[in-house]
Symmetry: C2
Subunit: 284 residues, 2 copies
Amino acid sequence: VLRVPDGRVVASTDLLVEGRHFRRDWSGPVDIGAKAAAQNMADIAAMGAVPTALLLGLATPGWLAADWVLDLVRGMLAECERAGATLAGGDVVSADAVMLAISALGDLAGRQPVTRQGARPGDLLAISGPVGWSAAGLALLASGAADRADLGADLAALVAAHRRPQPRYQAGPQAARCGATAMIDISDGLVADVGHVASASGVGFQIHAADLPGQAPLRAAAALLGDDWRDWALAGGEDHALAATFRAGQPQPDGWKVIGAAREGAGVLVDSQQGGRGGWDHFR
Amino acid sequence: VLRVPDGRVVASTDLLVEGRHFRRDWSGPVDIGAKAAAQNMADIAAMGAVPTALLLGLATPGWLAADWVLDLVRGMLAECERAGATLAGGDVVSADAVMLAISALGDLAGRQPVTRQGARPGDLLAISGPVGWSAAGLALLASGAADRADLGADLAALVAAHRRPQPRYQAGPQAARCGATAMIDISDGLVADVGHVASASGVGFQIHAADLPGQAPLRAAAALLGDDWRDWALAGGEDHALAATFRAGQPQPDGWKVIGAAREGAGVLVDSQQGGRGGWDHFR
């Protein structure tokens, strides 16, 4: 039984499957738990709500070490504490593979929920933090470069962002208070998720790649691996920054960076180039 | 975003794994969906709350027919309608086995939640419907007897109860209004679940098997299969009747049947015989 002073509750649910959403050989249980919690609480923040509670359904083979599960829960609890939420309950079943089913609840504190539908042509598009860091970190892990002793702080930050994103949950309610007209959690990739706002709102978007925040580490990783940093920034998911639209002429909230604008039409243009179906072409 | 007029929300979550919690060769998708919804909403009713919404996380192999999934959702929707709840959202992922992760939300409508902890010696123990029907239905299915053309209405009712239990959700809020001191959903078996109330409340229970409702079909199935009907009634789970305690001298709510009483001590006695660890001895 959870208090929801507002009289409305925001609810969201996600399934995470081993091998698809996480790898036990690349991430420890504390990070996997923290990341799973973060992903769900970012969904709540993207409505303009404050995450209040998580429920965890854990499917696990009998051979999985109890310590692994305890560390998973420790990671979830640590991330819940960052967000001000509690781990309120759950269920455990035996299964052939590890799977997490997380439901998150949140409170709107009297505000109207911000959806994907309210963007209008002329609205400014802003994001609450870097994008592409998690994807770049994954690329560093996949290439083996992440294991290098001389990795450096910038690249280590990318690997850390992959293992354990730290969404700014308060950016969601903050944007709602500042009149955000639409908002989404960037979980699939910037172009793909802004595309969801475009479809829901019946508008198009123009993104200026040069305005994207957090480019320096991405450029360093791209130089090392011979990749294009924009692929990560435009198509990489799982950073759980928020994207929101604001009426032009209104002041942006602190910590939000304008990266483009809504326009008449449909789809997402990046520097006048059309983003591909479901995201950014280079990534497909 | 769901309305919770009460300012508190009751939340519960369950995982159901194919082969463990359901079999696609014994139950169709409509029944599996309805049963999964019922199981979760019965948990909400057992707190004295009204189920308001479900979230469904579905893990499924790519080869599963889309019609199977649509029928699963149809079954959930039908059971939600019985309870007055909505299917509010969810998530779908690809996995090697079919798994359902269901979260249920409920509203207390101003009542205090009924927990497992409030039973006192002398309280009467009552249940909201038959127990053991689902287990007897499963036994009829496992033995092949369920396929007989001359099964008869009584035994067919047991098979139907296994495939698709129909909990009386309103019995939970009804018991709460009538001053229930403790309550639980009978999902693991009568003796096991009353044992959970015993532990949580610090009391013992005495159950009179002769007072159990719905014996006639159980006795008919037991005669056919050479089993003891009490094994099903005392240890069979998944009927999702509710068990609750009431102060002696108070009138029982309609549809509830007194089957015993709380006493000083611990554990659960059935006709003066000690129930085994975790349930009823014969079942182990």
